[in-house]
């Protein structure tokens, strides 16, 4: 019975993440269009796209690693989702919240992109590999301030779990974005890279690399990548909300908080041109790094 509840809860979480992530994607397209002075597609356009992609045939593959690549991505996003607390009080969405900590999560989040990269490599398209190298390089860039922010939180509150940090916020009543502002700034700057909106979208630059890693993937492969990408962005947003904005008591608050934090990279991206890889890396090793160091000093001193 217990197991069944768990499985049902997990499925509910996945569906929630999928729906929210997809809708956010559609809303972002809409917002982008409005900023461009266009009408834009409806907010549910991503669902239509996903369904269409799912309905397309997958007649060819370039080897079994290409099939495994999206699988890795899916596994990574779903398993990461399992570890991130969706709501403060858990409930149906508890899943595996207490079985892992932040460092584990950091590594788990790499699993998917690496598998994805392998899948892209198998296709033999040079553009894919170029995109992957750019993505991995950029990842090294933003991971540093992100980890610094997390380490600052960990050493400040002597816990490495998300639930632990959420408890801290619940007990003190202040959000961590106020009580450790530097860590929040560093994390937000790192988030710009994490979501791969422009100016950090060199990975799949459509005109330059023919969409990079996914260039050989259509149909179901693309569907899988799209849906796991949506789940992943939900996971990341929820993680930010959990860490810095005190988590959410119910789904409505969760949506509000995640959406508001999602707007940072989106709005920054809409009005920005594209960075080259080394420019992106240097960006992350400039101010974000500085704020990361400030955060660690802040945490170490107070």
């Amino acid at each position: 019975m217990d197991l069944l509840t768990n499985i049902l809860g997990a499925i509910a979480t996945i569906i929630l993440a999928f729906v929210v992530g997809m809708s956010y994607g559609g809303i972002v397209r809409k917002i982008t269009a409005r900023v461009h002075n266009r009408l834009g597609p409806p907010w549910y356009q991503n669902f239509i796209d996903a369904y269409k992609l799912f309905g397309k045939t997958t007649a060819i593959h370039h080897g079994w690693m290409q099939i495994m690549g999206p699988a890795f991505l899916m596994v990574s996003s779903v398993v990461t989702l399992m570890f991130v607390p969706v709501l403060n009080n858990g409930g149906w969405f508890t899943n595996l919240n207490f079985k892992g900590d932040l460092i584990f999560l950091l590594y788990l989040m790499v699993f998917g992109p690496l598998g994805m990269a392998l899948g892209a490599g198998q296709t033999g398209n040079p553009n894919s590999a170029i995109g992957v190298t750019r993505g991995l390089s950029q990842m090294v860039g933003f991971e540093i301030p992100w980890v610094m922010a997390l380490v600052a939180l960990m050493i400040q509150f002597n816990t490495t779990t998300i639930t632990g940090l959420m408890d801290v916020q619940q007990m003190s009543g202040t959000w961590l974005m106020f009580s450790s502002p530097f860590a929040f700034i560093a994390a937000v700057l790192a988030m710009l890279g994490m979501f791969r909106y422009s100016p950090f979208d060199i990975v799949g630059a459509p005109t330059e690399l023919a969409s990079g890693p996914v260039s050989e993937n259509g149909g179901k492969f693309l569907f899988t990548m799209m849906s796991s990408g949506s789940i992943f962005s939900f996971v990341k947003l929820t993680l930010y909300v959990d860490l810095f904005m005190g988590g959410a008591d119910n789904l409505i608050i969760l949506l509000i908080k995640t959406f508001s934090i999602y707007m940072i990279p989106v709005l920054y991206g809409i009005v920005s041109p594209r960075y080259r890889t080394e420019q992106a890396i240097r960006f992350f090793w400039g101010w974000p790094l500085f704020f990361g160091i400030l955060a660690i000093l802040y945490a170490a001193i107070f």
Partner: protein
Amino acid sequence: MINDKNSQKIVDIIQNWARKHSIWVLAYGTGCGAIEIPPTMTSRYDAERLGVRGAATPRQADVLLVTGYLTTKTLKRVIRVYEQMQDPKFVIGFGSCTINGGMYYDSYNTIKLLDKYLPVDVYINGCMPRPEAVLAGFGKLQEIIAEGRANGAQKYKDNLEWYKANQKKIIPSLLTTDYNW
């Protein structure tokens, strides 16, 4: 109704509805028509509100948009791109060059009739067609998709030998990929 071959099943209706509203276009910018695509996609005409969106590679695309005249040399590439696309896939012939050769009717290396080589679902008339016409063409395509009549790919499969013969006639060195999907 369900057993009627000519009518669609409920699944097909939903799928066709999705296909209709999600048209990912691979614009093969061969001729002057390529310049008509940017205004169609951007703020002025905004094709994205119809679900029309650019695709980067043939693997992801639904619609092959042949924008203008095709030399024999380009045709070879277009065929390749078309064959790399995944089912269901559609072709839009764009401008009079694809219909009857247009102003290149007497060129020694420009094809005149696109539908001899690829199964064209929708032709857009004009030299060049304005973005309004392009949008109308997309509308027509959506219409026939919804009705389930956009079966160009099926036609291509069924008449593969005929198409291949036509293609080979002008491109003797065409690499015959085993097109069997």
